[in-house]
Symmetry: C2
Subunit: 442 residues, 2 copies
């Protein structure tokens, strides 16, 4: 993509309304536009990141056996009365009346609707296990939305729902999602640590939040140093082997890890001081087993092998892609801007022409641009007439993993410079080698 | 995908609520679930088609130079007051109040919001032309939603908006979208005919509806037979050459074509009778040049080369992907079910194991399934214990382009049968040749 034709409105100043670094950087880097309180448009650069993150989530949901559907944003109040949540849910639910004065709502979550889909079609234990997910806009009418897409009113959410015949199968379904989440966060370039979460009246221990460590995190977290070096299951993980999946979960839940809310000083003090990591964290995923909380009141039952009707045992599994993007930036930036992990970077590299209009520079850049593009590398080519200093600042701000810098002096010597955005390392190399070098790395 | 693990709730009976064939077939083929009046969930099979259609739309928008963004569904009333449409828009607009009693609405379209984005950032004619699009859920509170996703209340829409310095550039932008639409509908396997549409108070002739011919179409249309054999511009179409784009538009707007609304008997009668096609059609796209209708009241201006401020000249370009899917089915089905064009088929083929449990059939099917999958062919493998007749009916109903039928007698003879869903042609061939045969065709 040529920057001269790309809609990338870079802001020079820090926007007043942005309280945290991810919000600030997303606005400055032309990823987002704030449309109102807790409401955002994703501009082309932001949309690219959103798509990359959603695709990774999708691939890992599919790999773990979940199936993608797409439920509407607007739901009927009737459905929520069946579960008792229409009255119980507070003012965060955006309630709406249509032209016939029917009560509706903008879904803050989808347990009721997916349970309704399930009960309409599935009648036998033979059709289980089943896990349905969608990636859809949700709305929560926060009193005080803030922190950009970290806590907005309208937000994108991947929510999956599992249906099983009994607790044991439901736990296996839960474990599959647990492992899928480990892989998802690893693939977007983040270390996420599963931490026990409150199960409230449901009880048991099947509720985990996945927390990314970041200095600017919203809450204090405590974990064993072991987490920082634990291996995430590879692409060959076998989701049809319940025992091996359970072993992975076991390994990832044995060392101490707790959010402030669930922190237990006594257990913590048993961890040797050198192994203690006290940090701040951002929740990017939550998985929760809730049994028959919705299936029982809503009559979502299947005939079991015993010929009897069983209310299905359910769990739900959420990741907010928009929130996750903000968390990635909180965890990966410096004073000059964003540092994208390669898997979610909107483009693979910035190609910087230091002197547009100079025939040699233009021709060298055109060559590199064409060859890299043909090699499947996504290049953002800065062919604007901005001065070089401004181009460097923009490239650092938007944070693509690599920068290729082509200037008149270098071109005269037959050379270009490449810079790694994360390490800052620079390397000068023959123009003829640029494509081969970055085809491998980018 | 193995059907035994796939959530595909086939309905044996015609659902009472479905008035037209696409609605009926989408419900029966397990693509959709009706959640309420004019509200639908897309089940896994439907979601796959939706994704394929959206990706084709996206590729052709990008190719024509449009850039993808994503605006929120909920908009502030304030913005719509600026254009005067908040009061002018009738009861179809879903109006909402938040917890602070602020007036909001679920966007039925996005002219105001995209104009607001534009005016926030773009100040100079040098940044034009610009075309921004998104694919987002819209809501129109129809009095009587009907015909499934053909006319639902919540629906997906691709809407693009072009911004130009003057009428001539705006017309060139309009022409690019015109050509992009020709290519889009061609790629989803449909013949869509552009027909002049009403421009109302805007005037001029830059408004076209794209109409798919289908016996069950919603309105009468009249066109010259030439349209049925006109070539759609290829992938090498040069969008940066205004003259060649204009020539394509010229060719596609010269023969007579009109919807009932715009039909002119006098001009029509000048078309020789043998060349007249009177048919029924379904609108699947609409493009419209509206000049400064929004930019003037909303102050979306740029500095021109003359140093003066100019309200930008705009157009909007819509395709409803969900409606388009229904239209494809209306145009392409038979008494047994859907007949998917290859480009939008949810899978490439049905692999039918006539006798699951028979070792030879299972092994032959497993082989074919593995090899085709490895060759990048999307196979839906019917490995359920349904009887063969039911499997054939399901395969015809869901309408994948090819069926591979493996039964005990064939396997004993080392053979399988393949059937083309569209033509009904059957061919018996050696098991060993199945993969090579379908890798080429599917």
């Amino acid at each position: 993509m040529r920057l001269s034709r790309y809609f990338l409105p870079i802001l020079k100043e820090n926007p007043r309304e942005a309280e945290i670094v991810s919000h600030r950087l997303m606005l400055r880097a032309g990823m987002l536009r704030q449309q109102g309180q807790g409401s955002f448009s994703w501009l082309p650069m932001g949309k690219r990141v959103l798509d990359k993150v959603c695709n990774i989530i999708r691939e890992e949901q599919d790999r773990a056996g979940a199936q993608e559907i797409l439920m509407p944003t607007i739901q009927s109040a009737e459905l929520w009365r069946e579960s008792g949540r229409y009255d119980a849910y507070g003012k965060e639910m955006l309630r709406i009346q249509d032209r016939h004065d029917r009560e509706m709502l903008f879904g803050p979550t989808n347990e009721e609707m997916v349970t309704d889909i399930f009960r309409s079609y599935v009648k036998s234990y033979k059709d289980l296990p089943l896990n349905l997910y969608h990636i859809q806009w949700k709305y929560r009418d926060e009193v005080r939305p803030r922190f950009g897409v970290m806590r907005s009113r309208e937000f994108l959410m991947k929510d999956a729902y599992s249906f099983d015949i009994d607790f044991e199968s439901a736990r296996a379904a839960y474990y599959r999602m647990f492992v899928s989440y480990l892989r998802t966060f690893d693939r977007v370039g983040m270390k996420a640590i599963p931490m026990k979460a409150d199960t409230g009246p449901i009880g048991g221990d099947l509720s985990h939040e996945f927390i990314i460590l970041a200095e600017t995190g919203e809450s204090a977290v405590f974990c064993h140093r072991d987490f920082l070096s634990m291996d995430v299951p590879g692409v060959d993980v076998n989701y049809s082997d319940d025992a091996s999946i359970a072993a992975i979960v076991d390994a990832w839940t044995t060392p101490y890890a707790a959010t402030e809310e669930m922190h237990d000083e006594a257990t913590w003090s048993a961890v040797s001081e050198g192994e203690q990591v006290s940090a701040r964290g951002i929740e990017v995923g939550h998985i929760f087993h809730f049994g028959d909380k919705y299936s029982a009141p809503m009559g979502a039952t299947v005939t079991g092998p015993d010929g009897k009707e069983h209310a299905v045992s359910m769990g739900s599994y959420g990741i907010g892609p928009s929130r996750l993007i903000a968390a990635i930036i909180e965890a990966s930036h410096d004073e000059n801007g964003i540092i994208w992990p390669e898997a979610v970077a909107p483009f693979d590299l910035s190609l910087i022409n230091m002197k547009v209009g100079d025939a040699a520079c233009d021709s060298a850049c055109d060559d590199i641009y064409t060859q890299l593009t043909n090699a499947g590398v996504d290049v953002l080519y800065d062919d604007t007439d901005q001065r070089a200093g401004g181009k460097f600042a923009t490239a650092d701000l938007i944070g693509l993993p690599w920068q290729v810098i082509v200037g008149p002096r270098g071109v005269a010597a037959g050379e270009a410079e490449i810079k790694n955005r994360k390490t800052g390392e620079r390397e000068t190399l023959p123009l003829a080698n640029v494509v081969a070098r970055l085809r491998k790395n980018a």
